[in-house]
Amino acid sequence: MELYNLTIHELHDKLKKKEASSLELTEAFLKRIDAVDGKIKAFITVIKEDAIKQAKEADKRISSGKDITPLTGVPISVKDIFCTKGILTTCASKILNNFVPPYDATVIKKLKDASTVILGKNNMDEFAMGSSTENSAFFTTKNPWDVERVPGGSSGGSAASVAAGECTASIGTDTGGSIRQPASCCGIVGLKPTYGRISRYGIIAFASSLDQAGPLTKDVTDSAIMLNIMAGRDPQDSTSIDAPVPDYTKALTKDVKGLKIGIPKEYFIQGLDKDIEKAVKDAIEVLKKQGASVVDISLPHTDYAIAVYYLVATAEASSNLARFDGVKYGHRAKDAGGLMDMYCKTRDEGFGPEVKRRIMLGTYSLSAGYYDAYYKKASQVRTLIKRDFEEAFKKCDVILTPTAPTPAFKIGEKTADPLTMYLSDIFTISCNLAGIPGISIPCGFTKDNLPIGLQILGKPLDEETVLKTAFAYEQATDWHKRRAGV
């Protein structure tokens, strides 16, 4: 098997046994990027020389034999929403097209401390607003399984780079499904941990009460390895949870005897693709065979999740994105006639259509006279959605659903109507509103050979049971071993 198809744990084995150096791996991935990224367009920035320097440092650490982590010397990529010191960070927006952060996000610092090699920054929907990367100010990333189709989004560049073998793994962010939905579209594993499990410091904010970082990987073991490094309390983020970080790889036992799996009837609806429905139902059978039992549950407020999300997320976005004003960093409009004019022109020139639409919606719903009807109402219904999960988890340990109602759609298919695009997040959004962890893992292919994702949701801070269930399913199947033929 080619090096670029291997997982973190497989490459770690090679590095430990001195079958390959980090420099060799890094050069192999850079070569792979050269060969396929013209077609896939997963990267906004590739940092060749810097990556080679990092690889040489990692090799020194490996040959010293001291303090080697499972990520030491392993080449990964990073969504362009994480601040990386000295490396262009655009958030796929014209308003940040020249922004070079003077500091690292906490997650980046943790990865660097482990001597992970960063190859570059991935394309995404501008400010993480979208489900296809079509909202990137620069270009659309292509799905490695079918280049006529989107890779999902917003972390679409991250997912495509992993699926195309341009890196071993990537990190993304998930506000309403932005890790899980692209993972599903690209046939890989995407984990959104509990809100607060991973520090948000240095991640460009979209909706602060929903944003959460997480790994996109080729299998569940890699997901646990990445979470081990990324998780933990950070004094720089007051919303990061002060709870011990277990060794998540210890949860990968395959033992699901007695595990209670909840199946919510609200997720098997009209409009759900038939191949997806069948794949998910088959997945339930696979876990039953291993000793898990199934309980029917109800999440009665599911139907309101999209409405709540598009009020809460846009309200928070309109406030968060106020900082892009042409004063401290980023684009500034020329020929403005004064400060106010400069603000308004800078923001009109710098933001793309979807970002403006969301800022407008958020500003409108928070403005005088509308607050109670929109933002407050949505926040109350959010409580009801959260309670749905609390009730459900009294009866089960995990909840299984499809990750998305359809496989990856065609480029251009949903751009005309924002609401149609929003509906592709229908199964992933509630998890962010409730703050619980969720993972998407490959569970089959449609008739057109497009990947299908299985979503597993868990109790707050119970990533271990989510990973255990995912691992048990993965090890009983071989979907995760299939690679896109790029």
């Binding site: 923001r347 009109d348 409108y364 949505a378 009801l384």
Partner: protein, 95 residues
């Protein structure tokens, strides 16, 4: 949900966005469609339900009041579109 051009213009002013005529009209129709979708929330009785703004219980985090080094001034200013005398420079404010 009807949204007038004036509603959009007012929100654009609050959001500091110099929208073009075409953008104003497009957003008026798109926002109307999205807000019609969210009207379904009105059907739910939420009387007495506490709103959720964060899913984790809000807790005030205390730390010692100690001085710590921050980023140097030149690094903070390194991305500024315009700077002068160690400050961010902006266009004229008083018109």
């Amino acid at each position: 949900m009807a949204i007038t051009k004036r509603d959009v213009e007012h929100a654009a002013k609050l959001a500091r966005l110099a929208l073009s005529q075409e953008e104003t009209e497009l957003y008026a129709s798109q926002m109307a469609k999205i807000l019609t979708h969210v009207e379904k929330l009105g059907a739910l009785d939420t009387k007495g339900i506490e709103p959720t703004s964060y899913t984790i219980s809000p807790k005030t985090i205390f730390r010692k009041d100690e001085a710590k080094p921050s980023l140097p001034q030149d690094e903070i200013l390194s991305n500024a579109p315009e700077k002068a005398k160690g400050c961010f420079k902006v266009p004229r404010i008083i018109e």
